[in-house]
């Protein structure tokens, strides 16, 4: 075992954390509101949207992420290029930074997962809460913003945490998009001297630290948010 390499590469891998987190955060920013809205369309069984959401969720949940990455990465530029071509749009599809593909893939993926998370969380908030909100004169939007969403969030938080941790881990597949994230950096460093054993240990450590930290932060936040549930029980 090459300990010097082990230590050096640990920091190389660590330098990929911002990329991983960036993707994670963008994906969450897209997926949280979108997932919530689509969860509502599913709960309220809005005819066409519900069906579409259902198919979308089933595809994303049913196929490995690496395959989704591949399909998006290879087909989107082809599709765009042919569309641009047809309408004479002057734009180079290929100048796009591959991180955009990561945003797309991971946002779509996380949205699908959060739809299900929110769907079950919303159904735990009793209908009476919404009715009470109406009865004191709140509008639909106000009722959701002030009463339903905060309560849903608390229930959903543990599952959102799981989804986030899985998302962070899944960004390791970003190597397939040439993203400078944790796994790719460690592996590139390993290539010169074929130090793969050390590289994998480093990758393991970085994810372990990163994910447990995220988990810990979620727990803290959960405690704060659920103040109104925890006390007195």
């Amino acid at each position: 075992m090459d300990y010097k390499f082990l230590v050096e590469t640990f920091f190389v891998a660590l330098s990929g954390v911002p990329t991983a987190l960036f993707i994670t955060i963008v994906a969450l920013l897209v997926a949280l509101p979108l997932g919530f809205l689509l969860a509502l369309t599913r709960i309220n069984q809005i005819p066409v949207l519900n069906r579409v959401a259902q198919i979308y969720v089933s595809f994303v949940r049913g196929t490995p992420v690496i395959i989704q990455i591949f399909i998006i990465y290879s087909s989107v530029p082809l599709l765009l290029a042919s569309i641009f071509d047809k309408y004479n749009i002057e734009m180079n599809v290929y100048d796009v930074n591959p991180i955009w593909y990561a945003f797309i893939v991971f946002s779509l993926n996380t949205t699908a997962i959060l739809i299900e998370v929110f769907r079950s969380a919303i159904s735990t908030v009793s209908k009476g809460q919404l009715e009470a909100a109406y009865s004191v004169g709140l509008t639909n939007v106000q009722a959701f913003r002030r009463i339903i969403i905060p309560q849903t969030l608390v229930v959903a938080l543990p599952n959102i945490c799981t989804a986030t941790v899985n998302l962070i881990k899944a960004t390791s597949l970003g190597y397939a998009l040439s993203l400078q994230e944790i796994t790719l950096r460690a592996k590139v460093a390993a290539n010169v001297g074929y130090n793969y054993v050390e590289a994998y240990i480093d990758i393991f450590l970085v994810y372990l630290i990163l994910c447990s930290l995220v988990e810990y932060l979620f727990k803290l936040y959960e405690k704060r948010l659920s103040r109104y549930r925890a006390v007195g029980i």
């Binding site: 809460q129 109406y134 009865s135 004191v136 509008t139 309560q151 109104y228």
Partner: protein, 251 residues
């Protein structure tokens, strides 16, 4: 003040309300009695648009709407004038007692926060919860929760408050405290429409009692009329079941 005519409401095949009329004057305290499933809750919910009636008409002060086709704006307008006290309290779990009371004022009515707090505290004081402004619902007993529910309704200063069995989810010992509060606000002249099984409340406080069964109003009149000399057989049978065998009225 509130006049409802010919409400019909079905759930699927079941017709639950079969043309109910109801007229309430300012200052009235009306109690609705009736067996389980007779449509009492449904009636209140239709009035507050928590259910959409299939047919029916409401005149409320200067607002005059069809219960089926009412616009969002009309619904919102009527809801501003009506408050609702739920059987299961339905306090906002994520808000303190005071926030529960002020939520409708600040967000719904756009009253300044400071002023809303003022109003809210007064309402909570009125129901005897001066010590509990900052308690979350989970920290309160059932009776206290229901009193917050009442304060929440009162604070809105509505034209009328609807109560749907406000004490039936409470432990027997806690019923008293809630009834006391209700009697007090009734005495202050608040217009109230109350579904309840508490006969003592009906007897002492109501100026009109309505007996419903199977989606229609069977009989209505003063408490004395209903309890002492009910005209209908159905009313008699119901009262016999509900009242303690040896309950004696000396009205």
């Amino acid at each position: 003040m509130l006049e409802i005519t010919n409400i019909h409401k079905s759930f699927g095949e079941n017709e639950i309300l079969k043309g109910v009329d109801l007229k309430i004057e300012k200052g009235d305290v009306v109690v609705i009695l009736g067996p389980s499933g007779s449509g009492k809750t449904t009636l209140l919910r239709c009035i507050n648009f928590l259910e959409k009636a299939d047919q029916g008409h409401a005149i409320f002060g200067d607002i005059d709407v069809n219960l089926k086709t009412a616009s969002k704006k009309a619904i919102h307008g009527i809801r501003q004038k009506i408050a609702f006290v739920f059987q299961n309290y339905n306090l906002f779990n994520n808000k303190t007692a005071l926030e529960n009371v002020t939520e409708g004022l600040v967000i719904g009515r756009k009253i300044a926060k400071a002023e809303a707090n003022e109003i809210g505290k007064k309402a909570l004081d009125k129901v005897g919860l001066s010590e509990k402004y900052n308690a979350y619902p989970i920290e309160l007993s059932g009776g206290q929760q229901q009193r917050v529910g009442i304060a929440r309704a009162v604070a809105l200063n509505p034209d009328i408050i609807l109560f749907d069995e406000p004490t039936s989810a409470l432990d027997p010992e806690l019923v008293g405290e809630v009834l006391t509060v209700m009697k007090q606000i009734a005495k202050e002249g608040t217009t109230m429409l109350v579904v309840t099984h508490e006969m003592s409340f009906a007897k002492d406080v109501a100026n009109r009692v309505i007996f419903m069964d199977a989606g229609v109003v069977v009989e209505e009149g003063s408490p004395k009329d209903i309890f002492v000399k009910p005209k209908e057989e159905r009313t008699r049978k119901f009262l016999k079941r509900v009242l303690p065998e040896d309950y004696i009225f000396y009205i």
